[in-house]
């Protein structure tokens, strides 16, 4: 399960089968290496790069006002249309939700990662496994379990009523959406932080304590800077995918407050306005690139500060 700790292995000296020192075989060898890479390159070029380029092009195309679809041409209209209150509202709401989810996942994920990383080494794999199991469980199953939990007559309502609180079904509600988003993305937030924390020498914690650092200072001066890269990845891995989610707002939010993902699906499948949907997809892609840049920039700032 090297999903969380995807580290590139160091290049071992190529000792390919039948390798003989010398120029000839070595160069043939690397040629064979490129040959082996062909299928993957074909998949990436034909099924990722070309399609995304097509969508980028389509986002500037005109759409038939009556029939929808893509009728070619070039216009900026799709992008200006996104500024229309109808779409702009969804955009700002999605960004707010994604940011909120990223922050909640980060705080909870950091605590869990710290807890796992500071347990005895023998117990860490078991605890990590406990985080992995929900992560590998079907996304939809993880989502609709919350309908049972928070819905009419479910455990939440029963417990609230026992405590004398007058509660009714929480589905659909904003709260249910936030809860299931957190549940869906929490494991993803834990992995990278744990991976970077595992490398921190436990004696640093003792040293910080010996030097009189309190709990907060230990984290601010030792743990947070040293796990900064994991924190960055964690924010990235929760913020961007939240924008694309379309199942949760429908099932737990009753479809009242759609996220960008819902809008893209609707534009493509129901309204048949591909150019506008393409423009919206490009916005999501650019936001992804921006958040990568922001996270990378923040990391650079942090490491420079440390060096100074």
């Amino acid at each position: 399960m090297s999903m969380a700790t995807a580290s590139t292995p160091a290049t071992a000296p190529a000792s390919a089968p039948g390798a003989v020192a010398g120029k000839g075989p070595r160069s043939r060898e690397s040629l064979f290496g490129y040959l082996l890479l062909l299928p993957a390159v074909a998949v990436i070029v034909l099924l990722v790069i070309v399609p995304v380029a097509l969508i980028a092009r389509e986002s500037f195309a005109l759409s038939d006002p009556l029939l929808g679809g893509n009728v070619g041409g070039f216009t900026w209209d799709n992008y200006t249309k996104l500024l229309d209150p109808v779409y702009a509202k969804t955009m700002t709401y999605s960004l707010a939700m994604a940011a909120l989810n990223a922050v909640v996942c980060l705080v909870v994920g950091y605590a869990v990662a710290f807890y796992i990383a500071t347990r005895p080494a023998s117990r860490q794999p078991v605890l990590l496994m406990l985080v992995i199991i929900p992560f590998l469980t079907d996304f939809l199953v993880r989502t609709f379990a919350w309908i049972t939990l928070l819905g009419r007559g479910g455990p939440y309502v029963k417990i609230a009523n026992l405590l004398g609180i007058d509660a009714s079904s929480l589905v659909p509600s904003q709260f249910a959406v936030i809860m299931s988003l957190l549940y869906a993305f929490l494991p993803v937030a834990v992995f990278p932080i744990y991976a970077s924390m595992r490398a921190i020498d436990p004696s640093l914690r003792e040293a910080a304590a010996d030097l009189g650092a309190g709990w907060w200072q230990t984290h601010r001066r030792v743990y947070i800077p040293l796990s900064a890269s994991g924190i960055g990845s964690s924010v990235m891995l929760t913020f961007v995918p939240t924008l694309g989610v379309f199942v949760i707002p429908v099932l737990l939010g009753g479809g009242k407050d759609p996220l960008v993902g819902n809008l893209i699906v609707t534009l493509f499948t129901e309204f048949r306005n591909e150019p506008l949907g393409a423009a919206m997809s490009m916005v999501v892609l650019v936001l992804m690139l921006l958040s990568v840049a922001v996270v990378a920039g923040a990391l650079r700032l942090l490491t420079n500060r440390k060096a100074a």
Partner: protein, 263 residues
Amino acid sequence: MDTAMDRVVSWFARLVFVFLYIPIVALVVYSFNASEVSYRFTGLTTHWYGELFHDERLLETLRTSAVVGLLAGLAATAIGFLTSFALVRFRVKGRAFFLGAILIPLIVPEIVLGVSLLSVFSSAGIPNGLLTLVLGHIVITLPLATLVQMGAMAALDPSLSEAATDLGATGWITFRRVLFPLLRPSVLAAFLLSFTTSFSNIVISTFTSGVGTTTLPLRIYSTLKTGLTPEMNALGTLLVLFTLLVILVVGVQQMRRILASTN
């Protein structure tokens, strides 16, 4: 040396572990609820599981998902194997570039990949169906399959193949008799991971499935839109069991590998 605050964090983390399992436990418990409505618990039954096996349309989507998962999983595992073999065992210029390219689908939001695929297939005149589903699922499973197998290949002891060569084995024999047997657990792990990822995918499938090739998650989603039924809880429980089974197989295999590498 734990401060009070450390204890608070520890307790909070333990609560989060409980939080991670509450929905799964609730799902399992409710799947055995005899009552038609979720808000009354009237006893235990396995009735809903039986209902599942009579739901023809559901079984149809299950078959589609299994076929797509199998094809996409096999393709992604095979391509991932070749890729990781090239990147780990060969001197390839621009390794970082190639690796970066293969990881693109992990970074690009899935919804963008989905609409892009829809656009490219309709431009190419390929109707949505089994082929488009499989191709779409290969895209998202290839990075995972590659990463899993790269890790295993990097961990291989290079002296093993050298020894085989010294003993007179040709390249192909070395690969077949020494390297591949050692890599088999990671190949299986990559396949199972790809299969489960494909099997539970919703976003890509939304844009690449056609009439008559609805996948299981899409069917579940459209059923849930009209309301949660007890059958869905039963189905969810079976899917959780399936996940545990996969983890068990991969876990045991990984343990074996670790044990084998220490000897």
